[in-house]
């Protein structure tokens, strides 16, 4: 498969010829992001009107609960932590031209293993070491889970879109099996894993409810961005992504790099699961599947696999999902409306991106 994933050379910020031009560029990008979001909100509003819900009230709640209330913004920032890890993992895979669509399976298995191991570890070792070990286990398990698609793609040329999707379905069920059978907390009637005590979870930032996982997530995505854009390893992966055949001819060990890409990408997805459990949830209930992975994919793509832009999109996704959840509760709209909203935003943004690209091309020509 050679789907166009090569990072498009955008106007680099290093081009210091005129600061005004870059400022205009940033302003234009901001406009090209906010405009489409507004259009998307209007379209989604029409759907709300059609089912008899006041869209203004809905959006009012989304903004209030997702962005402007102190508690809401804290929840939004907390929600960003796992999404950032997932986005970082996807950036690695996409830049290397590989479609890891199995993020949800890797996320859940990471979450379940972290949930199972953390409460055991905190009893036998210092808290920081316990959490570190749980993170490590979650990462390794997710990496192992990605091994089948990775090997199939590296040595058999089997399309990874299909294999990772299948592994997601398997992973979701397998995570449930683990919760219900192996890691079930015997002291409760609800099928769930043992709960990690609140005081043993990731420390909160300052006096807020924001988990420090946010900082880990931000650091991770920035490091990933820098590795992909500034290091030899990142360059190798980008060459594999841009032109696998050329990569083989230039002597790169493509199969090995492929496996490495999958391992890194899946490992980060596993960490996303761990950070959500150790930072926020404390345990995994049976049939819990937030499906963050699938929603992050188009966001990362719209960010053009740029780490910094991805942070912005992840923030937007967070606001919509946290705000949407509470708006849905208040107005009796099912939670699934958030999915509709997110998908309309993504489609309109993709369209705007295209229009912008076209406009630029016609000006250049």
């Amino acid at each position: 498969m050679s789907i166009d994933t090569a990072p498009t050379a955008s106007a680099t910020a290093l081009d210091a010829t005129s600061a005004a031009a870059t400022r205009r560029d940033i302003l234009r990008r901001l406009l090209m992001t906010l405009g489409p979001i507004l259009i998307a909100l209007i379209i989604a509003g029409c759907i709300l009107l059609a089912v008899g819900v006041d869209p203004l009230a809905y959006y009012g709640y989304v903004l209030e609960k997702g962005l402007f209330s102190p508690l809401g913004i804290q929840q939004t920032l907390t929600r960003m932590a796992p999404l950032l890890f997932l986005a970082a993992g996807l950036i690695v895979a996409f830049r290397a031209g590989m479609w890891n669509l199995g993020g949800d399976g890797q996320f859940l298995l990471g979450a379940v293993t972290a949930a199972a191991s953390a409460p055991v570890f905190v009893e036998i070792m210092p808290a920081w070491l316990a959490l570190f070990c749980s993170f490590l286990i979650a990462m390794v398990v997710a990496m192992i889970w990605s091994l089948v698609p990775a090997l199939l793609r590296a040595y058999q040329g089997v399309n990874e879109i299909i294999t990772t999707l299948m592994m997601t379905f398997l992973g979701t069920s397998f995570a449930n099996v683990l919760v219900k059978l192996a890691f079930r907390d015997p002291s409760t009637t609800v099928p769930q894993t043992r709960t990690l005590p609140v005081e043993d979870r990731l420390p909160r930032l300052f006096d807020t409810t924001i988990t420090s996982g946010l900082l880990l997530g931000l650091a991770t995505i920035i490091i990933v961005h820098l590795v992909m854009t500034r290091t030899a390893f990142g360059l190798k992966l980008r060459i594999v992504g841009a032109n696998p055949r050329a990569a083989v001819h230039s002597g790169l060990g493509v199969p090995g790099l492929t496996v490495a890409v999958f391992a890194i990408s899946a490992g980060l997805a596993g960490l996303a699961g761990a950070v959500d459990i150790i930072g926020v949830q404390g345990n995994v209930r049976a049939d819990w599947n937030p499906a963050y992975g699938l929603a992050v994919i188009p966001a990362v793509f719209l960010a053009r696999m740029n780490g910094f832009a991805a942070i912005g999109f992840v923030f937007l996704l967070s606001v919509l999902s946290i705000g949407g959840e509470s708006a849905a509760r208040r107005l009796g709209v099912p939670n699934t409306f958030t999915l509709v909203l997110v998908s309309i935003v993504l489609i309109v943004l993709a369209l705007a991106e295209y229009v912008d690209h076209r406009y630029h091309q016609s000006r250049k020509a």
């Binding site: 498969m1 089912v51 089948v148 199939l152 058999q156 397998f174 709209v333 998908s343 369209l351």
Partner: protein, 311 residues
Amino acid sequence: MTGLFSEVFLSALLFGAVTAAIPLLLAGLGEQMSEKAGVLNIGIEGMMLAGAYLGFVGAFYSGSLWLGFLAGAAGGVAVALVMALLCVRIGLNQIVIGIALTLGLEGLTALLHHFQFSRSYPRLPAADATVIPLLSDIPVIGPAFFKHHLIVYLAVALVFAMSYLYRRTQLGLNLQAAGDKPAALDVAGIDVIRTRTIAVLTTGALAGLGGAYLANVGAGLFIPFITNGAGFLGIVLAMLARGRPIWVLFGALLFGVCLSLTTAMQVAGINIPTDVIQMLPFLAVMIMLVLFGRRASLPAALGIPYERGAR
């Protein structure tokens, strides 16, 4: 355990396998067509959901199963229209749009169902079966294969119609070329965009019909997220079938058996958690991919939007 192998049980198992296979068959045939034409349709799950919801609503309010199927197919086409516009005409990334459409339709159908039926899940009356005389008297196989709704036979007939289309008609050749060498097709004076649009819309109709069958005949009701990955299984089927409709049929039957086993084992009260059983079809896919993955082939220009005179 002896009860597991009784004639009645086997026949029920096979009957269930056929019922479970039909949506996969339709989705697989649809995906095959758009893949042939060079469009990787990840939105097929969304198209099936649109078909399942509209198919159910259509049948529920009109009282006619056939109107339901029609509505389902129309729903699939409506989603396919968006896909064709965005991915074929404009050339946006097929995977991104496909995922967005699937997410959106998951949400939209669940939302509409909520506002229409709240928390109730009304059922449709059982579909009438068309019994094929003589053949249906064969023990075990007869009741399993020859007592289905008419649309099942039509779906199987479609396999052969598609084979004919791909091998013997100009349109079939055009589709193939649109996926393998779109520029050559363009040079031959045939509109690549139009050929691909036809393929994507047909995919939508078939996937929508598959969804409608799933809701109306398979389950007899609509529940949110009812397709549960059937669309993605359709993608795998299309990929493994290497462009041959008949292999989609065999593959669909194989997965149908897996899905039917899932229900049968639950009914038989075998003490395995449902989650383990639910893994079966996907496990079967992975095993098939490990064994035959290398031989799966995809058109050369799959996933690449065609732009006239781009290169």
